[in-house]
Amino acid sequence: MYVKVSYIFIILFIILVNYWLGILIQRTDSKQRKKAFFYLSLLINLSVLIFFKYWNFLIVNLFEFLGWLHLNNLVSAPFLDIALPIGLSFYIFQTIGYITDIKRESIQAETNFYRFTLFTIYFPKLLVGPIERANHFLPQLKRKISFDKENIIDGAKRIAWGLFKKLVVADRIAIYHSKVISTLEHQSRDTILLACVLYTFEIYADFSGYTDIALGTARMFGFHLMENFKRPLLAKNVSEFWRRWHISLSSWVNDYIFNPMALKYRDWGQRGVFFALFVSFVVIGIWHGAAWTYVFFGVLQAIALIYETVTRRARKKISKKINVYLYDTISILLTFLFVTFSLIIFQSQTIPDAFKIIGRMFTNSGPLYLYPSIGLFMITGCAFMMIYDLQEEYRIWSFSLFSNKSWLIQEVAYALLLIYILVAGVFDGGQFIYFAF
């Protein structure tokens, strides 16, 4: 683990600047000054984010561009050897949202410094979000918190599910997926295809697992953080997927980028909406990391959403002619396939790497590389997770172990869940795949 104590000053700086500017924006009557303070805050927040997260990416691309003009030898590239402060993108976006809400006068600036600090860096959400909203979280910090045993129990249950998703599903698939991708040239198309499909489950289990742990921990302390995932793998189209996947980010982008832009360019008609969509999804893409693959990932999502907007009527006509269950099932499968395809770009270091994976999916014949025990662990983990999601979504069975009316049955169910985590969870790097042999 890399620990740099001085990084605490970055968080402190962000807190101080936004606390102070938030109050100034609210107190000033002049619209121009309000605007100036707002843009100052935006500039500071984005500068910190760009400096730590995107500096080297920008420099690489700038020097490549200068290389085309044969000017890259004039100065040496000022690369920075710095680690990205953990959780930076989460709390920067959160504070930008806070400042924007004050400027829009939809919330009051927080005058209690300690409360604002807690809002910014409340520990369960600091590392992996969700990106909280001031109007949702700040009022919770103002009310009196008292011990509630239901919060403890519900929080613990949520943490147990998070641990299951992370340790049993995500980390198990990660061993297989990383091994396959790192030895791509020796893998068959079936193996690569399987690894890519499993990666969709891995990333969902990993991120939503962490979120469950964060939400569960906050709940134990009496706080309700916003939901970040709502069974996204059961989405019937890409726009629905983004309403269910990383909700705190997609709704943030919707509120602070898409809606203002769509409004600004409303004279352009549908083209204005498409432009706003495009920019929004490029932001979502690049938010994940400093690489062209993330930009391309965002662009793909925007294209899919534009396609869905254009074909909405045609698809509605088709849906009326087909059995509703069949149509829904096909829609879910197609959405899953699209997400899996776009995640190939997401998981790759470079765009050529992504095309290499896609290319090998269609060329390398050979046997499927999968030990039966590894396959069973992955399949049972994914199946368990998806059955739980299906039950939550469609309430297929009236009997439920985990939300049974009897607390004793619930306790047995959760004890069995923990036992399964002990049996099938990945606790360290000991569960390696010795690939060659």
């Binding site: 025990s373 607390w407 004890a415 060659a436």
Partner: protein, 334 residues
């Protein structure tokens, strides 16, 4: 019967009561499943788990081969038995390091002293690498029954001893392997061509001879170096003749790896014979190697094993003649 009536009550019981009941259920299930898995583990016949159990609890072989996958696939016990007239078992295990080998040696020495131990030493054996500690998980099922290896397993993490409170934890991630191992009709296990621990590889190599100009990791793990020293010390104390071997690889190394430098100097201090086949051009043939060029195939392994045996016999003869000379001198001095 008071607690049953409490459960039936519509009003929820206290958090404390619920927690106690939950913990009781959890420990009970842990005990039941853990015992079931432990029984499954002890009933394994062929396969990886059986090999570890056999080495730790049963083998009485005169010659033991220690090391990682390169030990496992490079040393043919059959050749040792034929040429040296001594029984031999190959304990080499994929991805393992000196600490695993030392744990195995400790548990063996508790039962008996083999005549010869051959330790296959890998490049970067001493490098700092958390994964090698994680892989000691293979020994966890023996934590309770073999106190002599506990200190080594505890190196995995400061919390390891606490994790051992669980009866399931030692068998984490093994359930499907154990079930498949217990099913007699499982063909894959039956087809494991294990020969006294040695698993031959029959693939052909896809790589050509290459050169690695790196200097190896300078960052060495003191636990691993101490493990190596202890391995040597315990062999000496138990009169086990130890040979350290650097087996062939289809890569040229112009620079000596820091781990090998340290290992050689420790061996020299302790008068342990070292046979290095790294950069041995007689093994620069792709038909000696399996798939990735780091492991010998069966053909290569048999050629290599014979060369190791030649070296051991030569050393033993030299030692014997030295001893005879010394005893003759002693007699003449008297």
């Amino acid at each position: 019967m008071n607690w049953i009536s409490k459960i039936k009550q519509k009003e929820l019981p206290s958090l404390f009561f619920k927690t106690v009941v939950f913990l009781f259920i959890l420990f009970l299930l842990d005990f039941v499943f853990g015992t079931f898995l432990s029984n499954l583990y002890s009933k394994q016949k062929p396969g990886e788990f059986y090999r570890i159990s056999y080495v730790i609890d049963s083998t009485k072989a005169d010659i033991l081969i220690f090391g990682a996958s390169r030990a496992n696939h490079h040393y043919v016990p059959e050749n040792f038995e034929k040429r040296m007239n001594l029984s031999c078992y190959n304990t080499g295990k994929d991805g393992q390091i000196i600490l695993y080998n030392y744990a195995i040696l400790k548990s063996v020495l508790k039962r008996y002293s083999p005549k010869i131990a051959i330790l296959d030493f890998s490049r970067d054996e001493f490098e700092v690498d958390q994964q090698s500690y994680d892989r000691l998980s293979a020994l966890i099922p023996y934590y309770q029954s073999h106190p002599e290896i506990r200190k080594i397993i505890d190196l995995r993490s400061p919390y390891e001893k606490y994790k051992m409170f669980s009866h399931i934890y030692p068998y984490n991630s093994l359930i499907f392997n154990l079930i498949m191992g217990a099913i007699e009709s499982h063909k894959e296990r039956k087809n494991t061509h294990e020969q006294n621990g040695y698993i031959p590889l029959n693939e052909s190599c896809y790589r050509q001879l290459s050169e690695d100009t790196s200097y190896g990791s300078e960052n060495l793990d003191t636990n691993k170096i101490d493990g190596f020293k202890s391995f040597i010390k315990d062999c000496k104390n138990s009169n086990v003749q130890l040979f350290v071997v650097f087996s062939p690889i289809l890569v040229k190394f112009p620079h000596q790896d820091p781990s090998i430098t340290v290992a050689k100097s420790i061996c020299k201090e302790n008068d342990i014979p070292v046979y290095s086949f790294i950069n041995d051009s007689s093994f620069y043939h792709t038909n000696f190697f399996a798939t990735d060029g780091t492991h010998l195939n069966d053909k290569g392994a048999r050629v290599f094993t014979n060369q190791v045996i030649d070296s051991i016999i030569r050393d033993q003869e030299v030692n014997l003649s030295k001893k005879i000379l010394v005893s003759k001198q002693n007699i003449s001095n008297k």
